[in-house]
């Protein structure tokens, strides 16, 4: 709600300022980026301007606001040419008619999963720069150098840790995103996909046999005291940082916090269930093109020749270390074991569905997790109800 309000504020400001300096102008580039990418983009923009005499203006705004502001501002003709964003915005932005297809000059430069994440109905919508996927952090001081490969092993380790008054595992709860590997390991899925990669929003596979099995394991970990119950992200983090938990399931955004706490840690993929590895959601970030740009070709040249370069990608990495989607830079970046770990975890992942119907999925799914975490419902019941609710909600709005 606050976001929508701030959108209104943007409109008013734009109207009051009545300033053409904020709009996409033929022969000039306007780029919206978040604070982490801002310095790099300013530098690249200045280089481009110096070399070609094309003014490049880089505007900084909070990452999440970029999506909302684009929807408010672009249709009025005041928007940017290029934005930075996450792949899961794609569904909304494309159905809203706010994005333009990007003509990627050389697709072999990018990690395939990152290109897939930014593909919508067969078209590419971004030059990806980073990917992310969740995995297992382990505290080497507590469990040694070799992480468990399966949940069975993890439970065995957990029994010993319990005697010391420690938890084996922590993860954010209730959090469908982090819990997805439990559902996907034995065949659960969010939406069924046809051969062309188009998702069917009425075929939800979160309550199928495999998904329920994984969900039951989740419940068992809670009931046996292997996994801490109802931990929000911050609580989870402090348990792991203080050595009160040996394993933590989360993603690359946690590296900074774990390092600063001085934990001797490793990062690997989420353990297997009955020999099958869970498939985490893969996310990607990239540069997208506004449908209202006045500089389609120019922006494509800028992205293909100035952003998709080793120098720019390394600079982006140095500013905010994330596993890269750009293969020529991967060799250097993946020397860092953390980055390599995430890249490997992502290889087994599936792109997080980007269709707008996901909004309805997160809510109901999260409720199902919470009911099980609170011990107010069984996994079968909770997830079956959730799927019914998801399908009903999606049907209602079709």
């Amino acid at each position: 709600m606050m976001k929508r309000l701030s959108g209104l504020v943007v409109v008013l400001t734009v109207l009051l300022a009545a300033s053409s300096a904020l709009a996409s102008v033929p022969g000039e580039l306007l780029i919206w980026v978040d604070s982490e990418r801002f310095p790099v983009m300013q530098e690249v923009g200045a280089q481009f301007e110096e070399e070609y005499g094309i003014p490049v203006r880089v505007q900084e705004m909070p990452f999440g606001d970029i999506r909302d502001n684009l929807g408010v501002v672009a249709p009025t003709g005041e928007g940017p040419d290029i934005i930075i964003g996450a792949h899961d915005w794609l569904g909304q932005l494309v159905t809203d008619g706010l994005l333009m297809e990007i003509d990627i000059a050389d697709e072999s430069l990018f990690l395939e999963s990152s290109l897939d994440a930014f593909t919508w109905e067969g078209k590419r919508y971004a030059i990806p720069y980073a990917i992310e996927a969740i995995g297992l952090f382990y505290n080497k001081a507590l469990v040694g150098e070799t992480p468990p490969d399966s949940f069975e092993e993890l439970i065995t380790i957990g029994e010993k840790l319990k005697e010391q008054g420690k938890y084996a595992l922590v993860m954010p709860q209730p959090d469908p995103y982090h819990t997805y590997p439990f559902f996907s390991a034995l065949g659960g899925y969010v939406f069924a996909e046809d051969e062309d990669g188009v998702l069917d929003p009425l075929n939800v596979g979160l309550a199928n046999e495999g998904a329920v099995k994984g969900f039951k394991l989740f419940e068992r970990l809670l009931d046996e005291g292997i996994m801490a119950r109802a931990t929000a992200y911050d609580t989870m983090m402090s348990l792991f940082q203080n050595g009160d938990a040996a394993f933590m399931i989360t993603g690359p955004w946690a590296f900074g916090d774990v390092r600063s706490a001085g934990v001797d840690y490793g990062f690997t993929r989420v353990p297997s269930i009955e020999g099958q590895y869970g498939r985490p959601f893969v996310g990607a970030q990239g540069f997208m093109l506004s449908a209202f740009t006045e500089n389609e070709v120019l922006a494509n040249i800028f992205l293909n020749e100035f952003i998709a370069t080793k120098d720019t990608m390394l600079a982006i990495y140095e500013q905010d270390p994330r596993p890269t989607a750009f293969l020529p830079a991967a060799e250097i970046i993946n020397e860092d074991p953390d980055m390599r770990g995430v890249t490997e975890a992502a290889e087994y992942g599936v792109p997080m569905p980007a269709i707008p119907a996901m909004n309805a999925v997160w809510t109901a799914w999260s409720d199902a997790l919470e009911l099980v975490i609170n011990g107010q419902s069984t996994p079968e019941e909770a997830i079956k109800d959730a799927v019914e609710q998801i399908v009903a909600t999606i049907k209602e709005s079709m």
């Binding site: 709600m1 929508r4 209104l8 109207l15 009545a18 033929p26 022969g27 070609y52 005499g53 094309i54 929807g71 249709p75 009025t76 003709g77 909304q92 494309v94 159905t95 809203d96 008619g97 706010l98 003509d103 000059a105 929003p201 801490a228 119950r229 109802a230 931990t231 929000a232 609580t235 348990l239 006045e294 500089n295 070709v297 120019l298 494509n300 040249i301 707008p356 119907a357 909004n359 309805a360 997160w362 809510t363 109901a364 409720d367 919470e370 009911l371 609170n374 107010q376 419902s377 109800d385 019914e388 609710q389 998801i390 009903a392 909600t393 999606i394 049907k395 209602e396 709005s397 079709m398």
Partner: protein, 508 residues
């Protein structure tokens, strides 16, 4: 006389500056075709000018700024919300029909098998440009004012007229937006368009809009799309994205009332909303008043220190406090439960149990809200004449009687309207609910996304932003209007019932 003319000059100058600003904005609004806002602006400016020019408008001058802001910040949003409630505005339908048609008209499909046409550009002193293309099959094509000519086998110096010189790559990129506007017809159906800094490519125009028949034709497949319910639809029901914004009349309201998925939890949510608002006002007022009475006692030492400390919760942003409280309430690791465990050997499922989640919310809101009530009551207590207490003392009234028959009634005169507005505020207190419980705990087996602690406004949020199609502003605006009607009615009845406004007026 002299003073008057200086004043007039001052007014005149101010009015002139204002009018210049208005004209500037008006030109801009005209430019972006925002005629509604333009009319509003001009009317407003006209009215303001009239106030200053005609002597009869004198008293209204002082009301004018308030009126302007009222229109801008209250009335305009309300009108706009009513308008949105009557449209299908939301994910997939945010553009206008014209914008959508324009997007489809500009959609070109790259012919993937045709390959790239590398090019060189030549320019003369008048900025006339000639292109020389090398086709994938090796042919040489000369492109000039939209026409292509096969010049295979001829020499470059032979085809390029004198006076033209080749543009460097640097200039090609600099001029790429201009150059990309130049396209060449190629064998009827194709267009040769700029693709990158070094190549053109063949594209096929995909859609054409027939304004007379209001149809969109797919030029490749021949399918005809007609606008149905805010999107172009093929005879087989396929709908093209993006869709566009249309007025749908009362359909959002029909969805709201005709759908058991939505109406089902409405009564339950409504009752909890009322309970929540009443409890919030009641508890914060009781504690605030109690503390105010203590702090008002002249015998109390360090009063100023206490007062400053007690205002602190009010000074800390609610967003931060709510997150801290979320940690305090944690069933296993929270400080509150650890203390309870230590003292009474018991744990309370604060955020998991429906009842305790509600208690937790009321406690949090009490923490956030009592300083406001305390400040208000302190102010009101100061204004009560001390002679009243002396008289009461002479009559032999006990402390309780003093409070009950002197303090409270006199306090209520000034505080009652604030209690009513506090009720309305808490009725819509989205942030506290959303930050602490997000409307949870969920209800087992529920067919709707409403949780135990959802109030109307947080439920609206779920309907609007967690819907099956993404974001649904139209539906959200419809619910907002209904909430507005409910709060409006309650507030109105409250004011009439307490007579709050009348009393204040008598006291002034």
């Amino acid at each position: 006389m002299r003073g008057l003319s200086v004043k007039r000059l001052f007014y005149g100058l101010g009015l002139a500056i204002l009018n210049v600003a208005v004209i500037w904005c008006a030109i801009y609004l005209w430019g972006v075709q925002s005629y509604g806002l333009l009319a509003l602006l001009l009317l407003g400016a006209l009215a303001l000018n009239a106030l200053f020019i005609f002597p009869g408008g004198y008293p209204y001058r002082y009301l004018a700024p308030a009126a302007v802001f009222m229109i801008l910040l209250v009335i305009y949003p309300i009108v706009y919300t009513v308008y949105v409630a009557l449209t299908n505005y939301g994910t997939g339908n945010i553009l206008t029909k014209e914008q959508v048609i324009q997007q489809f008209e500009n959609r070109y499909v790259l012919d993937p098998d045709a390959g790239n046409y590398t090019f060189r550009v030549y320019e003369n002193a008048h900025s006339d440009r000639i292109f020389l293309f090398t086709a994938p099959d090796g042919r040489l094509l000369l492109g000039r004012s939209g026409e292509l000519e096969d010049v295979t086998g001829r020499d470059e110096a032979d085809v390029i007229p004198p006076g033209y010189s080749e543009l460097e790559r640097r200039d090609v990129i600099r001029l790429s937006t201009e150059l990309s506007a130049l396209t060449f017809e190629y064998e009827e159906e194709y267009q040769l368009r700029m693709r990158s800094a070094s190549a053109f490519a063949l594209y096929i125009k995909q859609y054409s809009y027939d304004a007379g028949r209001d149809e969109l034709v797919d030029l490749i497949s021949g399918v005809v799309y007609k606008p149905v319910n805010g999107a172009f639809e093929a005879p087989d029901g396929t709908r093209l994205t993006p869709g566009f914004r249309i007025v749908v009349g009362l359909r959002n309201f029909q969805r709201l009332f005709g759908n058991p998925q939505i109406t089902g939890p409405f009564v339950r949510v409504f009752l909890w909303t009322i309970t929540w608002a009443l409890l919030s006002v009641g508890t914060t007022f009781a504690v605030g008043l109690f503390l105010a009475l203590l702090l008002n006692d002249p015998h109390l030492r360090f009063r100023r220190l206490y007062r400053s400390l007690l205002i602190l919760p009010y000074a800390v942003p609610a967003f931060i406090s709510a997150l801290i409280w979320q940690g305090l309430y944690h069933t296993e690791f929270g400080v509150i439960n650890r203390a309870l465990e230590f003292l009474f050997d018991t744990r309370v499922p604060w955020l998991q149990d429906p009842f305790y989640a509600k208690v937790a919310l009321v406690i949090l809101n009490l923490w956030l809200g009592f300083p406001y009530m305390m400040i208000v009551c302190l102010g009101a207590l100061q204004s009560i004449n001390s002679e009243m207490y002396e008289a009461a003392l002479v009559d032999g009234a006990t402390t309780w009687q003093q409070f009950r028959y002197v303090t409270l009634p006199l306090l209520m005169v000034s505080v009652a309207p604030l209690l009513v507005s506090s009720f309305s505020f808490n009725f819509n207190n989205f942030s506290v609910i959303y930050l602490l419980t997000r409307g949870r705990p969920p209800i087992p087996g529920a067919q709707t996304p409403a949780g135990h602690t959802d109030i109307l406004i947080s439920y609206t949020y779920r309907l609007a932003f967690e819907s099956g199609r993404g974001v649904d502003y139209g539906l959200a605006s419809a619910v907002t209007l209904i909430i507005f009607l409910i709060t409006g009615t309650i507030t109105f009845i409250n004011f009439r019932f307490t007579g709050a406004l009348e009393d204040v007026r008598e006291n002034v």
